[in-house]
Symmetry: C2
Subunit: 347 residues, 2 copies
């Protein structure tokens, strides 16, 4: 392979010093017009571009930020990434995306890798395994090393850093209230195991809405899905209770869509026999039948906000920095799985 053109090679070509070349390319008045022009022409001809590594090393910053997410085959995270990329683009930053695959070890590995000068700051959504283990030393170390950190979505209370979260409690409240408003009397929740923070918070909102409306809390109606086992079967049990639910709030899209499937297999009509709604306005919700009412999380905005906070911290690294927690509001997206509307028929 032909090696890239460098200042040194240009310098040799014209028998001048490297500094002269560097200055000429920067249009420095220190260099005579004549020399300047010929160097610039030569550089342009060979498509000279300064080597980023050298620049980064010299400037002690890379204009790159690291992003560690649990998995990428996930609509919400891709939305967040898009938001991050959007701001990164505006501000001339690059994004390095790493996957932890929900693994504690890989999260640490990724972090170590990123922390060695490669990036100016790091954004993380915590892996499930890390949440379970409750071992957050790698985050503390990162902060100790003075590397700006922002957590989003799945965050850790005890870590002192900038955070951006969905208003999960508010969203759960919104959802449950909606089901109450349309007349549901027995409202079930399909949620995650207790170590997943977002599931827990959405459930809090659900409970809050029930209490405010003087509904009893029925533990039979709280189903913590174990993703290692068949989801359909777990949901099926819910419909086989002596008094089954007439409203279901699922804390994510998959659970909600699966609930619709199961309901149909039980020959139940949605929403007439049972209203079902989800959380996250992803790809699926619009294509189930009936289409899913859901809570929109605004992942794109979240990504934007997250990077903005990080860049803010990066720009103020010397100053005494005060950490913030931004809460992104949710919205109800009304579709057919919770409303009894006349079927749309063309013509």
């Amino acid at each position: 392979m032909k090696s890239k053109i460098t200042l040194k090679k240009i310098a040799k070509e014209f028998d001048v010093s490297i500094s002269t070349v560097s200055k000429a390319l920067k249009d420095s008045h220190e260099i005579s017009e004549e020399v300047r022009e010929k160097i610039k022409a030569f550089a342009a001809y060979y498509h000279y571009k300064p080597n980023s590594l050298a620049l980064n090393l010299r400037n002690q910053k890379t204009k790159t930020i690291g992003l560690i997410i649990p998995e990428i085959v996930h609509h919400f995270f891709t939305k967040v990434i898009s938001g991050i990329e959007h701001i990164a683009n505006e501000k001339g930053y690059n994004v390095m995306i790493c996957l932890s695959n929900e693994s504690y070890e890989k999260e640490i590995l990724n972090m170590d890798m990123l922390a060695n000068g490669i990036v100016d700051g790091i954004i993380v959504s915590v892996a499930k395994e890390t949440e379970e283990k409750r071992n957050y030393n790698h985050f503390k170390e990162l902060i100790n090393n003075g590397i700006p950190l922002v957590l989003f979505d799945r965050v850790i209370d005890e870590i002192n850093c900038n955070k951006v979260i969905t208003d999960d409690v508010g969203g759960g409240y919104l959802a449950c209230n909606h089901l109450i408003n349309i007349g549901c009397k027995r409202i079930a929740i399909l949620t995650t195991p207790d170590h997943v923070s977002v599931g827990v918070n959405r459930k809090k909102g659900y409970i809050k809405a029930l209490l405010e409306n003087n509904f009893p809390i029925d533990e039979d109606l709280v189903l913590k899905i174990d993703e290692k086992n068949n989801i359909e079967n777990q949901i099926k049990n819910l419909f086989e209770l002596t008094s089954p639910p007439d409203g279901i709030f699922a804390v994510n899209e998959i659970y909600a869509a699966t609930a619709i499937k199961v309901a149909h297999k039980k020959e139940l009509k949605v929403p007439d026999d049972v209203a079902i709604m989800g959380f996250t306005n992803g790809l699926i919700s619009d294509f189930t039948s009936p289409s899913l009412t859901t809570i929109a999380q605004h992942g794109f905005t979240m990504g934007e906000k997250t990077l903005e906070l990080l860049l803010d911290e990066i720009d103020n690294q010397d100053a005494e920095y005060k950490c913030k927690t931004e809460v992104i509001k949710t919205d109800l997206i009304l579709r057919n799985s919770t409303k009894k509307i006349p079927k749309v028929i063309y013509k």
Copy 2:
């Protein structure tokens, strides 16, 4: 912020030279046991990690590869990314993901950014706008600069580099043949405009299957979706033909799922009145009702293969390298949108 620990600082601490520290940390026998141990202890205490930028600059390689994809909110691409990450992990490489957002300009911007020493090789799936413009100079330049390049999924024939593609023609053939086999007589295709290569190829397979079975090619049944306008309305027209289709092959999941929606609104039964199938086994296909028969593209495998090719090229950069094109086979995933099966009812 407290600045990171470096060789220089350790050297100063013990009043030895930088080289001594470097060697001590590498357990060189050149350094006395005593000095070695105390340096190692000190370094461990302060979590010394060599600065990646410096290493990269010295070694003239970064163990990082760049990935440019048109968009990330897309199940297929996330699968490919997962496959790439999988191999990258195994081989100790990092992946830098950039989004072109289907824009020619951003593709070039990303490429320029990556090409300045930041990565050892680049993987690209070409943006739609680039395909339209047919301006491929940035790829040629990259190759001229000796930077290994692999194209995947959306590739360019005239560029001489490693490529990994889906067997789109074969997949289209598989799809159309399936519809013929289940007894469809008038088979429509929902495809993309002509500049999108994958759509064109899938249509080729469709045509091939029709011809082989002595079906006429009816241009009324070839619908090129214009994504700038309402997709539902375009599909609706298809059902309002004097002799409407009884089978539909959509070249992606969204078109297929939308077709189901439209069929329902037209009060048509799927698959009895019209069988519908898609391409790409994404998130949606399993949750439509009926669930979608589709062609699986194996994005994960594709990602793995793509990075393997790239690493192969990187490892053989001096040798005369012969470019390959790998074709990833497709599979038919049979679901309910094309088969008349008894409804599953629990109990």
